[in-house]
């Protein structure tokens, strides 16, 4: 049974890393080899969740500090979801620091998820007529960044971080069904924003 990273508490382990002894070094070496290749993935999620480059850097660094401290609790399998779960916790602590309640996640769930907004509506005409204009990367990133957080994070985890539904459900600690409905809703919202952007251009 893998300890879920959501068990990790911010601040509980704020001591500095002790100078390395040999076993620590081996651990650090292994950690380096496994975790460092995913730095771009961690930083990417931090950018989308926090929407601020320097906050994202701080969060990524904090994520690696915590991950190394708790590397003993990592039980194998792909390490990327494990790292992203830690990063997400760091980001939620950052929301709290910014003075925003971390609650919006759960509120959004109740009112919007039971009424799935569909991607395609009759006004689009026939199903074949649904085509989206290609936007440049910066515009697409900005549109994703504007999505409400619960939908933004599943969309980023799926479409950009390439995680499976099961992995996403582990990262954010909700059932797979919830992942699926948030993703459907997220795509619907993104499509509306995309369409609006198209008409502006």
């Amino acid at each position: 049974m893998t300890a879920h990273p959501s068990m990790l508490q911010k601040g509980r382990f704020s001591d500095a890393i002790s100078p390395g002894t040999t076993p620590d070094e081996n651990k650090a070496e292994r950690f380096r080899a496994l975790a460092l290749p995913h730095l771009d993935a961690v930083y990417t999620l931090a950018r989308y969740l926090l929407r601020d480059p320097s906050d994202a850097e701080d969060a990524a660094q904090e994520c690696y500090l915590r991950a190394l401290r708790h590397f003993d609790t990592f039980r194998g399998g792909p390490i990327k979801p494990w790292l992203l779960a830690i990063l997400r916790n760091v980001c939620r602590a950052e929301y709290a620091r910014r003075g925003r309640a971390a609650a919006p996640l759960d509120e959004a769930e109740t009112d919007s998820e039971n009424v799935p907004e569909t991607l395609w509506s009759a006004s689009d005409g026939s199903p074949e007529a649904t085509s989206l204009v290609r936007l440049d990367a910066e515009t697409a990133r900005a549109l994703i960044a504007q999505l409400p957080e619960p939908f933004r994070e599943v969309l980023v985890l799926r479409e950009i971080e390439d995680l499976s539904y099961r992995e996403i459900s582990q990262v954010i600690g909700v059932p797979v069904g919830t992942v699926m409905s948030r993703l459907a809703r997220g795509r619907g919202l993104l499509r509306q924003a995309w369409r609006a952007e198209e008409t502006q251009e």
Partner: protein, 248 residues
């Protein structure tokens, strides 16, 4: 299937997350239902529009350096192995230094031939049906197969749980030397691991190189040289080496 379910499940279909049975059910529903067909088309369209660009962010070099700086440092008396490993597996800064080392190594004609042979053998294994002489996902079938065929016992770890499927093994030759070739698969990517007694000037610490566009990872363990060749990305090939070395 109810439409309220299908309208969400078409997303899972578009994402390739449904098993064959459910996929057929959802497809059948979408064929008969204009609304769900539209939703499916729109989901695919949205996915394609997003896939058209790389929407990731690259971590700044300064961040990478800061993170590396917070990790326990190797002892000052660190032997060359640890040192090299740090380079081979570290970040962008280290990769730059490692490329210098790889460069020196590559200028040895023998090394060139060895790596050239490894790439050719990898390509041959992909082109023909001759991927394996012994076709089995069972390590206990593959390992004994090499008995009497080659004067070494290659490690044949079962890495299925880690996402690397053993396909089988065969005999091959690199630079005139007989080697055991183990074949693994990750998604659509084939990994050939060549195991020989002494394959070039390999160090114990894993060393990553790019040869003819393929990622080549070399290491030594248990008195054997290993060369892994694949079109798999660096990260996953490195992960493969870590798992292989740990299990073997």
């Amino acid at each position: 299937m109810k439409c309220e379910d299908a309208i969400v499940l078409v997303h899972a279909l578009a994402d390739g997350e449904l098993d064959a049975g459910h996929a057929r059910e959802v497809e059948a529903h979408a064929e008969a239902c204009n609304r769900c067909a539209g939703e499916l088309a729109a989901a695919r369209e949205m996915k394609n529009a997003l896939a058209a660009n790389d929407l990731r962010y690259a971590a700044p070099g300064s961040l990478r350096a800061r993170i590396e700086g917070t990790m326990p440092k190797p002892q000052p008396v660190a032997d060359r192995r640890t040192w090299l490993k740090g380079f081979a597996l570290g970040g962008a800064v280290s990769a730059l230094a490692a490329s210098g080392i790889g460069f020196l190594v590559l200028h040895d004609a023998r090394e060139d031939r060895l790596l050239g042979d490894a790439i050719s053998a990898h390509l041959r294994s992909l082109q023909s049906e001759h991927l394996t002489d012994v076709l089995s996902s069972d390590q206990h079938t593959v390992k004994p197969w090499f008995n009497g065929r080659i004067d070494l016992a290659p490690p044949v770890p079962d890495l299925t749980a880690q996402g690397f499927t053993l396909i089988g093994g065969r005999l091959d030759f690199l630079d005139g030397q007989p080697v055991a070739a183990l074949v693994y698969r990750r998604r659509a990517h084939v990994i050939n691991v060549f195991v020989g007694q002494v394959l070039g000037a390999g160090s114990a610490a894993p060393q990553m190189q790019v040869v003819q566009g393929f990622n080549v990872l070399r290491w030594r363990k248990g008195g054997l040289s290993m060369i892994a060749v694949s079109d798999l990305n660096r990260e996953e090939l490195q992960e493969f080496e870590t798992k292989f070395a740990a299990a073997g």
